[in-house]
Every structure is written in C-alpha cells, then in structure tokens.
C-alpha cells in the first residue's frame, strides 16, 4: 500500500465521520475492511445517499447507477480504490 493510499484511507474515514455525524467514533475505530452497512458500522439507506453526496463534493465522483453504489460503498477499501481510479479533484 502506498503512502498516498494510507493517507486517503485516513481522510475518507474522517469524512465518513463528519458527513454522517458519527461523533462517537474516531477514524481508528473504523477498520479498512469493516462493512459499512449491516453488521459493521450499521449504516442505512439515507447514509448511502450521504456518502454518494460526499464522493461528489469531495472527489468529483458522480455515481449515477445505484448498482455502482453497491459495489463502491462496501467498506473503506472499496471506497478508496474507487476514488483513486475515478476522482476528478
């Protein structure tokens, strides 16, 4: 894993906490491969829209197809991988 990827993961975790108002969590509480929805962080459908908004605002990524969202918003690893390949800012 490159230094950039490690830093991006930390940044994404901070943004998840900020956008979803997860004030009781710190970035280190979120594991890279911990599922965002269901048993992991326990996020729900409204959170998924918040995360899509976050990707758009912070990285210029517009997810149009809901099927893509399901593949991207699995855990921090999948999000960071998608951001690295598709970011426009």
């Amino acid at each position: 894993m490159t230094m950039e990827t490690t830093e991006l993961k930390q940044q994404v975790k901070e943004q998840i906490i900020k956008f979803l108002n997860l004030t009781t969590l710190k970035p280190e509480d979120i594991k890279d491969d911990e599922p965002l929805f269901g048993e992991g962080l326990g996020l729900d459908s409204i959170d998924s829209i918040e995360l899509i908004v976050m990707l758009s605002r912070e990285y210029g990524i517009n997810i149009q197809d809901p099927k893509d969202g399901r593949k991207v918003l699995v855990d921090v690893n999948t999000m960071v991988d998608y951001i690295e390949k598709n970011r426009t800012k």
């Binding site: 108002n21 829209i49 908004v53």
Partner: protein
C-alpha cells in the same frame, strides 16, 4: 377540557430530568438555549442524524410513553420545526448550485419531523399531527387534543410543542427589532424595559386524557385571538372569564408572557388591571426566553405550581407564593397572537364548573 397526567419540559433552565428553579441560568448574547440532557432512551444511530429540535422533542417524549398504553395520537405544535437544518439545506442548494444535496438536513428540517420521529421510534401508527400556528402553535395543539378527546373519550394523547433558536433567524429577528440590540442579562430583563426582548427555545411534552385519576392538572378552558386591538383582547378575556364563573370564581394566580418589550406591556398591564389587587402574578420569559411556543413553558410552570403548591421565587412578580387552585395564563406573540389558558387542580376546577 383535558387532564394532564405527566409532562417533561426541556428548557434553558434546570427542568429536566429533575426540576430545580432556585438558580437562574443566565442568557448569553441575548439567547437562552436549552441545556441538552443525555438521551439514554434514543438509539445512538438515530440520534446522530437528528436536528436539535427533533432531539429535544424526542428526548422529552419517549420517557412519557414508556410503560403506558400506546397513545392514541401524537400532536406537536411548532412554528419553525428544525429551522437550523432547514437553513442548512437551503444554503446547500445555493452552495452546490442546485446539485446533489445531502438528504439528512432536509428530512430533519420539516416541521413534522419531531412528531414523525417519536412515531417511528415508538412504532406508533395512530393519529400524528403537527400544528404550525406560529405564536399560537402550542395552544392549537392543545385544542386538537381537546377535540380528539371528544371523539375518543377513553383516549390518551401525547401533546406538546417545540421550537429552537437558529443563528440565521435570530439575526433576522434581531434586525426586525424583536430582540434587544444591547446585551441584557435575563436576570435584568424586566429592570429596564425597552424595545425587544431575548430569544429562547424549549420543548414541553405531556400525556393528556379525560381521566382525572392520577392527573396533575386540568386544562379547563382555552381561547385564542388574532388581533393587535387591545380593547378586543380585553373583551375576549372578559367573555372567557365570564363563561368560567368570573367574578364569582377568580383565578388566584395570573401567569403572563411579559417579556420586557415595552411595545407589549400595554396588553399585559391591561390584563393585570382586570383582576383584584390581591391576586398573584408570575412571569416566565426571563426563564425561557421568547419564542413562538414559549407559552408552553408558562403552561408547564402552571402545572408544576399546582403540583408543588408554590411559585418559584424567581418567577413571582407580586403577591403570595402559595395556595393556588386556579391559574390563568395569558401570553401574546408580538402583540398579534393572544392566548388564554385556564388551569387548575383537577378537583378545584371540576367543582367550579358545577
């Protein structure tokens, strides 16, 4: 009309979970903001997304409905709902050029979000209504409960009101002259009356029914009027009192919404002058601040006085401190929306109506 069985008031003062009105909590920058409690009854995953108005409302409501029969309805009066999130959402529309918007602040900012959240958390699918009559939203929420209890005499309803300060509408109201331009402590709100008052916020939630058993107070009558005509306000009050036995039956305590704004003093002075010199007068806006549903704080204070038998020293304007069976609340919002509520101990008012 209806009996109040339990209530929770989250306000800028120490009123929840325990009530302690000996010490006055001071305003900051002409604002009295609620001190939020720990929300032990609300799942953290839901709490994190709530607007402040929704949080305090749910926090006050949930303890009331746990362990009792499912309420037949939830009725909340609010002028502005989660106004802070509403403005956040509107700002996003501008900031992101009407692009992709965050849904959380929209969902939480609608006026009916507090009643809806209580319903969702408690899985209550009965009647659910939000009343938005600005300065009379609380009074109209009560009126809705009164009418529902006529339709369903055995029912029990969760009724209340909530409003919050938002920085944005505070500034707008400040520019409009509603709040004092110079900083004033709520401790000295009535010492130097001038134009404007201080801002406040809060929530009151209550369970109400037609059953006197176990009740803490009875709402005997309620009247609202929209006017700036002082004479019409007085005439309405005279008729209201007459149908409640005046002058044979006189409330021992008048609680007014006096707020230190000289433009409104004429209404409060005229109402006070209608009663004998020896009746006690209390006021509460130095405790709650001014907001559209502030009369609910006066209502809560009246139920506490009936429950405890005495007025907190910091609320008393004149007269004796104890011995109250009937309390009249008069509040007006910006000299346009006036409300009268007559409360009493269940037994006292029941007998006076006969």
């Amino acid at each position: 009309m209806l009996y109040v069985h339990s209530s929770n008031c989250i306000s800028p003062q120490q009123t929840f979970p325990e009530t302690e009105l000996c010490e006055l909590r001071e305003s900051e920058n002409n604002q009295l903001r609620v001190k939020e409690p720990a929300y032990t009854n609300v799942p953290p995953g839901i709490l994190r997304r709530m607007a402040r108005a929704v949080r305090i409302c749910v926090g006050a409501a949930l303890p009331l409905i746990q362990g009792i029969q499912e309420p037949d309805g939830i009725i909340i009066g609010t002028a502005n709902g989660g106004i802070e999130d509403c403005i956040k959402f509107l700002n996003q529309i501008i900031e992101y050029n009407e692009g992709l918007l965050s849904p959380g602040s929209f969902v939480q900012s609608t006026s009916n979000a507090p009643a809806a959240q209580i319903s969702l958390i408690s899985k209550n699918t009965n009647y659910n209504n939000t009343v938005t009559h600005r300065g009379l939203a609380f009074e109209n929420a009560l009126l809705d409960a009164v009418m529902l209890l006529k339709e369903k005499p055995d029912g029990i309803f969760l009724v209340g009101s909530v409003d919050e300060i938002s920085d944005y509408n505070f500034n707008i109201d400040l520019l409009a002259g509603s709040f004092r331009k110079e900083i004033v402590s709520n401790r000295k709100l009535f010492d130097h009356p001038t134009i404007g008052t201080i801002a406040g916020e809060g929530v009151l939630m209550m369970t109400v029914s037609n059953q006197p058993e176990g009740s803490i107070a009875r709402l005997n009558d309620l009247q609202t009027i929209h006017t700036s005509d002082e004479g019409l306000v007085l005439e309405t009050l005279k008729q209201f009192l007459k149908r409640n036995g005046f002058p044979r039956i006189v409330p021992e305590l008048l609680i007014t919404g006096e707020n230190g704004d000289i433009r409104l003093d004429k209404y409060y002075q005229a109402v006070e002058a209608l009663f004998p010199e020896n009746i006690s007068v209390a006021r509460f806006k130095h405790l709650s601040g001014e907001y559209c549903t502030a009369s609910s704080f006066g209502f809560w204070m009246a139920t506490e006085i009936l429950r405890n038998g005495k007025i907190p020293d910091i609320a008393l304007k004149k007269g004796k401190k104890t011995g109250f069976n009937k309390i009249l609340i008069y509040n007006n919002y910006r000299g346009m929306q006036h409300g009268f509520m007559l409360l009493g101990k269940a037994e006292a008012l029941s007998s006076s109506k006969q």
